[in-house]
Symmetry: C2
Subunit: 344 residues, 2 copies
């Protein structure tokens, strides 16, 4: 009475293999493999029998075994900061589309701006043998990736360059963009301009600050100590920083916001502020046109697309020296950046 449950007939948690399909179709294992992979050299009749067995058993090829054998996973990894940030969604999507065009899947993970977590994630992806890796760095030392790169994992850094290793990087021209945005405010008559940016360990924050200083210097304007603030971009800190700049002994008449999160917080603050204050933000924001927010826009999707294309060129064997690409920014004047300086 007791029925022996063979692996291939167990109802749950086990799957038919090519061997099972072969047995059912009455053919050899390799023939099934050929059918599954569309290889030539199988008669129509045999192929039909195999297909029927596949259907009947609900067979699906085990890609882990395939990867083990072939060495390539057709998968790329993307380590970014936070997928919930509207800047990264389009970037990730653009990478995915390029990957898809090359028949690859994308695994992405959020580092939450934590260097240790970035490292864990990147190495976990390497352990899964992704063919390539796109990283938006949280940390500033990427030597931990050296063995992986040597072992053949193509790696491209996006938005911020790699730290302490040579590698491809696709960046936005943060320096030029910030300089342009601040120059726009200066052209509007402002002479006291504040800068609120991200943590100083973040490359783009430093570059944008450099752009700000360059624009001020170009116009021979002094920069008071209190006009510059680099730090975490949580609303509380940004609010405080902005409020301080707006109410100090030398209150600024305009603000330059270093990224989209800062811009949003400043917009909220300025909505309650009695005195009109000009604002230019780095990064575009949805509905910014309706709110009349002037921004220096970068193209997140182009960033992702460019990086992914470079990655796949590497995977196709292109073996040049690591390069750095900088994408331009575009200034959208929508009102907030054209507010004239308030009279003292």
């Amino acid at each position: 009475m007791a029925e022996t449950v063979r692996r291939s007939t167990s109802r749950y948690g086990s799957r038919p293999t090519m061997k099972d399909v072969a047995a059912r179709a009455g053919v050899g294992l390799k023939t099934v493999s050929r059918v599954v992979n569309g290889e030539a050299g199988v008669t129509q009749d045999t192929e039909r029998r195999v297909q029927e067995a596949i259907e009947a058993l609900g067979f699906r090829r085990n890609d882990s075994a395939r990867v083990l054998r072939k060495g390539r996973t057709a998968t790329v990894g993307l380590v970014l900061e936070d997928l919930a940030d509207p800047f990264y969604g389009p970037l990730s999507r653009a990478v995915e589309e390029v990957a898809r065009a090359h028949g690859a899947l994308l695994i992405n993970g959020s580092s939450a701006e934590d260097p240790e977590r970035e490292r864990e994630l990147a190495l976990a992806l390497c352990a899964r043998r992704v063919d390539g890796l796109i990283v938006i760095p949280a940390g500033s030392d990427h030597r931990y990736l050296e063995p992986e790169i040597r072992a053949g994992v193509a790696t491209v850094f996006v938005d911020r360059p790699a730290g302490r290793i040579e590698a491809d990087a696709v960046l936005t021209d943060s320096f030029g963009g910030a300089r342009q945005g601040v120059a726009h405010l200066i052209a509007g008559g402002h002479r006291r301009i504040g800068f609120i940016g991200d943590l100083p360990r973040i490359h783009t924050a430093v570059e944008r600050l450099r752009g700000y200083r360059a624009a001020m210097e170009d116009a021979e304007l002094p920069v008071a100590d209190g006009w510059v603030s680099l730090g975490p971009t949580d609303p509380e800190r940004v609010r405080e920083a902005a409020a301080a700049m707006l109410s100090g002994p030398e209150p600024v008449t305009a603000l330059f916001a270093g990224n989209n999160r800062v811009t949003v917080t400043v917009v909220r603050l300025l909505a309650e502020w009695e005195r009109p204050v000009a604002l230019v933000g780095f990064d575009d924001i949805e509905l910014a046109d309706l709110l009349g927010i002037t921004v220096v826009a970068q193209d997140a999707a182009a960033l992702g697309r460019t990086a992914a294309e470079r990655l796949f060129r590497r995977l196709e064997g292109f073996d040049d020296a690591p390069s750095r690409t900088e994408l331009p920014t575009v200034l959208h004047a929508r009102g907030s950046g054209e507010v004239p300086p308030a009279e003292d």
Copy 2:
């Protein structure tokens, strides 16, 4: 002279294995495995020697082989519509966090609202032997997943229920939310209200329309044919639909927008419209508070979190009948929904 290049010393594209590490450390293969996995039964001295060999060779465990042997991948898949849509970023991130807490990685893919692509993606993830699958359906027939589910792939549907199969679903109360939003407009004195929603094959679109009709019926208000529009949510179509409702023979005095994309387009249109029109949208939008847009908000992160938690409970062996969870919505009155009806 000719030097034989052994696999393990080839400079590029090949990687050391446990065997190489074992040889270098002068121990057995299994001992390396023990060290790598932190298993007990290795003396401190041996462990140190192995660790040194691992460092020196830059060894990293090949997870494909591991998966092949163990059967579990510690990976879950998420099929969503479009990662660039601000609704899905937070959802995906929430799933990722739950996965991370369970030691799993997340692979996500965008279906671009194409049923065929949803199917391809979901099956590709199954071929990679994800432990579980979270799907935001684009199509309405998910029988193709039956063999996978039978084979043990835990599957949870989010935002929209599965079609033609029994499976867990975590949804937003679209019906209730829309009813509440439309009732809010009615309470404000509106009697002619338009509804603009997504494609009729999308479950949430239909549910929200049902909610709209229920609210109108509750108030014993008629619904004219021209007041309802279901279709693609590209700006052109939505603009046309809204303009038609606003200028027909019985022009509406208020609009209910079926999702965030529709809301944004309608807000843009109303900004240029001479007559004041009330608007309530389904889904919250960044900066909607500043623009004074009244919305029925759903919590995308909660949706993702709830679905992921259910998925992992299943993976831990919880084996109940498929369940359906509906999360509540919240009405945020911010101005646009409180515009009184224009006099005729």
